[in-house]
């Protein structure tokens, strides 16, 4: 197990290096000089050279790279140009809404998507199955922001039972917080729920055709037991990866959902920073979200090895 653990961690390091290098390179995708793009055409030469120095762009590229990686090792993501504060601090202050939203959406996706997929598989070909799979197909085809706008229209504008947009921090009470996060969480989790339902259904159908399931049935087991304790266990193996990564994937989707519902989280900060041309903040957020994905991926892999010895020894 220890060897497996070490191997997994060693494999994650080059991925993190590529991610960090990629984010560093983002600034160099700018056509022309990033500093003049940030400041606009009216900037004085003095302002330009000042900002160039602040961003470290006056140094040769090898030194810039060394500095970038050196700073990252200290958790330092640089200074925001617009807000004039450390990027790390800014991100941490905006983390609560994004984390809560992503967590709720993950719960929604798994608790709704998985059971629907399993039930659909056991009743394959029925009207209920057809209906569920049509909804799921729509779910993966609808843009999340349109789902959100429709939910706002129905539940906030027409029925008036939930707020149109905005956010209340957890410190104002759990109920207030949930009232504001309910629609965003459903919006964010909907497509992933549909995806999980489709996957769970097709994996279950595959397993239900196996010989050992027929054996279980022919020895007289109750159908519920065949499905839940024989078939589901094997179908779950690939599903665990998807469920584990759901949180990481949805954190990316939160960028859009936060914009729909005006939630002051990391995603909205990312979009605002793009419009303000605040590159250090953009780089910082992109990096944090990608690192989050790598770390969760690593944890899923480790858990896998823990539960399934075959993975460990391959």
């Amino acid at each position: 197990m220890l060897a497996y653990l070490l191997r997994r961690i060693l494999l994650a390091i080059p991925v993190m290096l590529v991610v960090a290098a990629g984010v560093f390179l983002l600034l160099y995708l700018t056509p022309g000089d990033p500093v003049s793009v940030i400041l606009g055409p009216d900037a004085s030469p003095q302002q330009v050279s000042e900002l160039r120095q602040r961003l470290g762009l006056d140094q040769p590229v090898p030194i810039q790279v060394t500095r970038w990686f050196g700073r990252l090792l200290h958790g330092d993501l640089g200074q925001s140009i617009y807000l004039n504060r450390p990027v790390t601090q800014t991100i941490l202050e905006r983390a609560e809404p994004t984390l809560l939203l992503t967590l709720l959406a993950t719960l929604f996706a798994i608790l709704v998507g998985l059971p629907i997929g399993i039930v659909s598989a056991t009743r394959a070909g029925s009207w209920a199955d057809l209906g569920a799979m049509l909804v799921a197909l729509g779910g993966i085809s609808m843009p999340s922001f349109w789902v959100g706008l429709n939910l706002i229209f129905v539940f906030a504008v027409v029925m008036g039972v939930l707020p149109v947009a905005g956010y209340q921090p957890l410190s104002k009470g759990l109920w207030e917080n949930l009232r504001y996060l309910l629609l965003p969480a459903v919006t964010l989790g909907f497509a992933q729920a549909a995806l999980l339902a489709r996957m769970a259904r097709s994996l279950m159908l595959e397993v239900l055709r196996e010989d050992y399931v027929r054996t279980a049935r022919s020895k007289g087991l109750v159908e519920r037991k065949v499905v839940l304790s024989h078939a589901l266990r094997n179908a779950m193996v690939p599903l665990i990866t998807v469920m584990g990564l759901t949180f990481a994937i949805l954190m990316g989707g939160a960028v859009i959902t936060e914009q729909v519902f005006n939630i002051p989280g990391i995603g909205r900060l990312l979009v605002q920073s793009v419009l303000r041309r605040d590159y250090p903040v953009v780089q910082g957020i992109v990096l944090v979200i990608a690192f989050n994905y790598v770390v969760i991926n690593l944890l899923v892999d480790i858990l896998y090895g823990l539960f399934d010895p075959r993975v460990r020894h391959s």
């Binding site: 057809l130 197909l137 609808m142 922001f145 990312l270 920073s273």
Partner: protein, 299 residues
């Protein structure tokens, strides 16, 4: 939905794959594929709307008339007007052009780049180690976040949207092509070709690439759909297609601000977007099933 085989009443002995092929020509199996048929029809519809936009539109999609801004659907403006008094129906019709242009270009560019990288990686193990780490790194960014980051650096422009989304999608093509190459590398015919002195270039081009085409087509159909969603998402966030160009994402981004006073703004562009992506998902599912009937199990 399980697609039942129409030939099932036949005795089991006749149900050999070969005999099915003999009795039912390929174009008939294709027509029996319901998802592919519905998907292609819908896609054809969207394509026609994009091509015939000048004929279908009742107003100029750019004509600003502040005096009738945010007006309800009426006989003159069938789906209402937006916050600048522009006709929403005409803007949605023209929006099909941007969506299909971006989706098609992204699928094409990602296919070209991804195939080249995938062939190289799958065939040369030494290059593979480096290439795969880079691809893993790129896959660690959620698609929309990487696209937003690239757009931040390159600035809002349609060609930049295409470039950003193509970069995001390329690793997904690489994975598919590489896995085919890896499975072929040990095959006898590849070994035989190598024994008679076939060059690496000819091997990849003539003996390996043709086997990658079908999974590539399936993957690219899904990428087309994801790119349509990606363009709309970037434009919705205000960092994609510039606001003056009619794009479904741009319209929905503006509609968000007027959801109380002009909720009709969300209806048509959102429906168009969903139908387009749905058609591509259906076509992708349909082609995959047609190529590999064993996979006939998901709706």
């Amino acid at each position: 939905m399980v697609v039942t085989d129409g030939a099932s009443p036949l005795p089991a002995a006749v149900l050999w794959t070969e005999s099915i092929h003999r009795e039912r020509p390929w174009y008939l199996t294709l027509l029996r594929n319901r998802r592919l048929a519905i998907g292609s029809l819908l896609l054809l519809g969207v394509l026609l709307v994009a091509l015939l936009a000048p004929l279908l539109a009742t107003h100029s999609p750019l004509l600003v008339r502040p005096e009738i801004r945010l007006s309800r659907p009426s006989a003159e403006h069938r789906f209402g007007t937006d916050n600048f008094g522009r006709d929403l129906y005409s803007r949605t019709v023209y929006g099909a052009r941007i969506s299909l242009l971006v989706g098609g270009m992204v699928a094409l560019l990602a296919a070209l780049a991804g195939t080249a990288i995938g062939l190289l990686g799958g065939y040369y193990p030494r290059v593979d180690i480096v290439l795969m780490r880079i691809m893993d790194g790129m896959m660690a960014f959620p698609g929309i976040v990487l696209a937003v980051g690239i757009m931040a650096a390159m600035g809002p422009h349609v060609s930049n949207v295409i470039a950003a989304l193509a970069i995001v999608q390329t690793p997904r093509v690489v994975r598919v092509v590489r896995s085919v190459v890896l499975s072929l590398r040990g095959m006898q015919y590849v070994e035989a070709a190598r024994c008679v002195g076939v060059s690496d270039w000819r091997m990849l081009w003539r003996h390996i690439l043709p086997n990658c085409i079908s999974p590539l087509v399936v993957q690219c159909t899904f990428i087309f759909g994801e790119a349509v969603l990606g363009e709309a998402s970037l434009s919705f966030l205000g960092v994609g297609t510039p606001p003056e160009i009619p794009s479904w994402g741009v319209i929905l981004g503006e509609a968000r601000l007027y959801i109380r006073s002009a909720p009709w703004m969300i209806f048509l562009p959102g429906t168009a977007l969903t139908v387009t992506v749905l058609s591509l998902n259906l076509v992708g599912d349909g082609i995959r099933d047609w190529l590999d009937p064993r996979l006939r199990k998901t709706m």
